[in-house]
């Protein structure tokens, strides 16, 4: 009975979303205040019912209700409780419900945060968000109902895929979706601006915090996914250019470009078409990702059970939303351009380069991801496009961009003399390149050209990011100008980029990987570490049995750590799973994975030493932290409307 209530809640949510998607938009065109006023209550109501449906599904999982088909396919009585909850979004139908919940949560946030916006504009924003909600709710109700029943109910469930039985499942999808879906907000702002026919620099100031917030979640979400793949999938890789990884990365690239383009639009009122197009593109890429994962059109480890009928529905949704926005763009964007001059050496110019290079990178990743589909559809054969292609191709726009990050940060608006720019930056650049070229040789004894370039660029970005804060701290005596929150945000965000580049370069260049076989009692050496295979034993888990090895790791005679990799067999799904043992360190990760028993007590093993790999995720977290700082800048506090009666007469200044 209760699952049917969940279904009913979804239908009610759809009804409210339909109101939210239509009436306020009509009201904005016809200037009917009462129609526009329906937006907020409709959005709030929609959130309530979507949340109710979501809670009903959670309830079904927590109570082992195997009469619900989705629960029986993804859970089991022996599944530990946190994973029962996470299993709610472990497969297609439930993760779609999570998508919709997060969209309605963002919409709710917009209803609260948009009170100081012009009424017609706010109504349009909520209306557009409503259209997206309608599309996704229809998709769920018509093709992907999570509350479908199983008669007769299963005795026990199929269990959650063992690969997903991990703490990361609890946080990675919600945070990733918060980012992915959150890009709908700047999208809605962009479409609302196009509908209104006007785009003021104020518009950019409204849109920026929402964009940065979504981007922040997306950054953390992608980093979590990468980290999870690293320790869970057994063999120590952290990015595979899998189509679904690319599907989350492209919105990130577009979102990064959008944040920077918004900066120019806010400050100078120009780059409006860029900003609008990037806002439309970022969310469209999110929707595209949703399409790629759920339609079965590409092969991916993330692909949910695919179904061409579902694929067709999402394609239609994508066509309406993206196609509609782009047609609106084609019709109206040209009327929004304004004059605003700048020179070759200026912040605008560097941000334009930034826009272009990020768009090139996004387009290159998109092209590579879709190329096998293009060839197959044209009957020209079947190829695969994987890491060898992407690793090469991605660097082509990104290395120049990384170098420019340091330069753009330090240039003034409108125009700057190249001499003063060079004067400012020559010392940190020189130091970065000097260290970048020499240190790899000193520490590792060898370095390729690409390694030296990568390390230099990474150090350069770090130096450039820290240049101003360090200068201001050192100049404390002579009336320093404090950095604003926004500037601190920029500092940290770019610092994060530099640290990421350092981690990615060093770990790719100096990763040591060996496959060997050993018997308990053996000792051998890997990259300066001495390993001893001490023991192999059987271990029981809550829903699995495992063989566990014990390895002692020493360096220069001193004990570093004891590692216990496991080979698990989950009771229900019975396929063997490797659980690698990792010794985490800022300087390097030590990674040991058990392979197969080879007879006579011998086991095959993979041992890896991965220098600076933690910097990859540290860099991402620092980037996200920078975003957080930027959002909390007081200039985004909205000015209360003059008409409203204030309890206090304070007005918050806008920058």
């Amino acid at each position: 009975m209760i699952p049917e209530l969940g279904q009913f809640a979804l239908i009610l949510a759809l009804g409210l979303a339909l109101i939210q998607a239509s009436v306020p938009l009509l009201g904005a065109t016809r200037e009917r205040k009462d129609w526009m006023a329906l937006a907020r209550p409709a959005a709030t109501g929609q959130f309530v019912f979507v949340l109710a449906a979501f809670l009903v599904l959670c309830h079904a999982f927590l109570n082992d209700d195997f009469s619900v088909l989705y629960v029986s396919l993804n859970s089991n009585t022996a599944l530990p409780t946190p994973y029962k909850l996470a299993a709610v979004w472990g497969a297609h139908e439930g993760s779609l419900l999570l998508w919709i919940l997060i969209l309605s949560a963002w919409t709710l946030a917009v209803t609260a945060g948009s009170r100081s916006l012009p009424e017609a504009f706010a109504a349009r924003v909520l209306g557009v968000l409503g259209i997206v909600s309608v599309g996704m709710l229809l998709f769920t109700i018509l093709t992907s109902n999570p509350f479908e029943r199983l008669f007769p109910a299963a005795m026990d469930g199929n269990d959650l895929n063992p690969l997903l039985q991990d703490p990361a499942l609890v946080i990675h999808p919600p945070i990733l979706y918060a980012g992915y879906v959150g890009l709908a907000v700047p999208f809605a702002f962009a479409v609302a601006a196009l509908l209104t026919g006007k785009l003021s620099p104020e518009w950019a100031r409204w849109t920026r915090p929402w964009t940065t917030a979504a981007w922040m979640f997306l950054t953390v979400g992608i980093a979590l996914g990468s980290w999870w793949a690293y320790y869970e999938l057994g063999w120590g890789g952290w990015w595979f250019w899998d189509p679904v990884e690319n599907a989350s990365f492209m919105p990130w690239l577009a979102g990064t470009a959008l944040i920077h383009s918004l900066a120019v639009t806010e400050r100078r009122g120009i780059f409006k078409s860029w900003t609008l197009l990037l806002a439309i593109a970022a969310f469209s890429l999110s929707l595209l990702g949703t399409f790629l994962v759920r339609s079965g059109i590409l092969v991916s480890v993330h692909a949910f059970a695919s179904d061409p009928a579902r694929g067709l529905f999402i394609l239609l949704l994508l066509s309406v939303i993206t196609g509609g926005a782009l047609i609106l763009y084609a019709a109206r964007a040209r009327h929004l351009t304004v004059e605003g001059g700048f020179r070759l050496v200026s912040r605008e110019s560097f941000l334009l380069m930034n826009n272009i290079l990020l768009v090139v990178a996004t387009a290159a990743v998109l092209f590579g991801t879709l190329y096998p589909l293009f060839l197959d559809a044209l009957g020209l054969g079947k190829i695969s496009v994987g890491p060898p292609y992407f690793n090469t191709v991605f660097l082509i726009p990104m290395l120049p961009l990384a170098a420019l990050v340091g330069v753009g940060m330090h240039s003034t608006w409108v125009r700057m003399s190249s001499e003063s720019l060079v004067r400012r930056l020559i010392l940190p650049a020189g130091v970065a390149v000097g260290i970048g070229v020499i240190f790899p040789w000193i520490i590792f004894g060898r370095a390729s050209a690409l390694t030296m370039i990568g390390v230099s660029v990474g150090l350069w970005v770090v130096a450039a990011a820290l240049l101003d804060p360090v200068k201001r701290i050192l100049r404390r005596g002579s009336a320093p100008i404090a950095l604003t929150r926004g500037q601190w945000g920029m500092t940290f965000a770019h610092l994060g980029v530099g640290i990421f580049i350092l981690g990615a370069t060093v770990t790719s260049s100096y990763n040591v990987e060996t496959d060997t076989s050993a018997t308990p009692g053996d000792r051998w050496e890997v990259d300066g570490y001495e390993l001893v295979f001490r023991d192999i034993r059987r271990v029981d888990g809550p829903n699995f049995q495992a063989t566990e090895g014990e390895f002692e790791v020493r360096r220069d005679g001193r004990l570093v750590t004891i590692l216990n990799p496991q080979k698990r067999i989950y009771r229900v799904q019975t396929s063997p799973m490797t659980e690698a043992a990792i010794d985490v360190g800022w300087g390097r990760d030590l990674f040991v994975a058990l392979g197969d028993p080879l007879g006579d007590g011998a086991w095959s093993l993979r041992v890896q030493v991965k220098p600076l790999i933690r910097f990859i995720w540290l860099g991402a977290l620092i980037m996200a932290f920078g975003g957080l700082l930027a959002i909390t800048d007081p200039r985004y506090r909205t000015q209360r409307k003059q008409e409203k009666v204030q309890p206090s007469s304070e007005l918050v200044e806008t920058a």
Binding site: W235, F342, V360, I383, V393, P397, R415, R538
Partner: protein, 144 residues
């Protein structure tokens, strides 16, 4: 259960499964061994199609690694091994797409896009350089 029957039990559990780890010791010549490692990280596993054969636990992946290892140990060049694979499985088996007429556009795309980007940049700059400049307020020069 005692140690021997435990090991036998474990061995039975894993019969018929493979792992991505090669049980044999590394090839004697480190240059060939590293060429081998590099190549198997570029060959797509046809069973679990989103992994390389270096990372895949599928039996076919283990068989292919064994074949490649043998061939390279006997002196086959990278090109010869690639040719061996493509003759049997087609271009799909390589994660590095071959450079041929159907993929010229793929390999050329990044440079082409960069070229288009450069042209776009030049045109926009030409327009903007002719437009009136705004007075720059040096105080908020660092405002992003």
């Amino acid at each position: 259960m005692n140690r021997r029957s435990f090991i036998a039990f474990v061995w039975l559990l894993f019969v018929g499964t493979a792992s991505a780890i090669d049980p044999e010791p590394p090839l004697e010549d480190p240059v060939i061994e590293s060429a081998y490692r590099e190549l198997i990280n570029e060959v797509r596993c046809l069973v679990c199609q989103n992994q390389t054969i270096a990372d895949s636990n599928a039996p076919l992946a283990a068989d292919l690694r064994r074949e490649i290892r043998r061939m390279m140990g006997e002196g086959a060049s990278r090109a010869e091994v690639i040719d061996f694979l493509i003759t049997r499985y087609g271009d799909f088996v390589l994660y590095r797409p071959p450079f041929q007429p159907t993929t010229w556009l793929l390999w050329g795309a990044p440079v082409l896009l960069l070229g288009i980007g450069a042209i776009v940049f030049a045109r926009i700059l030409r327009v903007r350089t002719k437009q009136p400049l705004e007075e720059s307020n040096s105080l908020d020069e660092m405002t992003l």
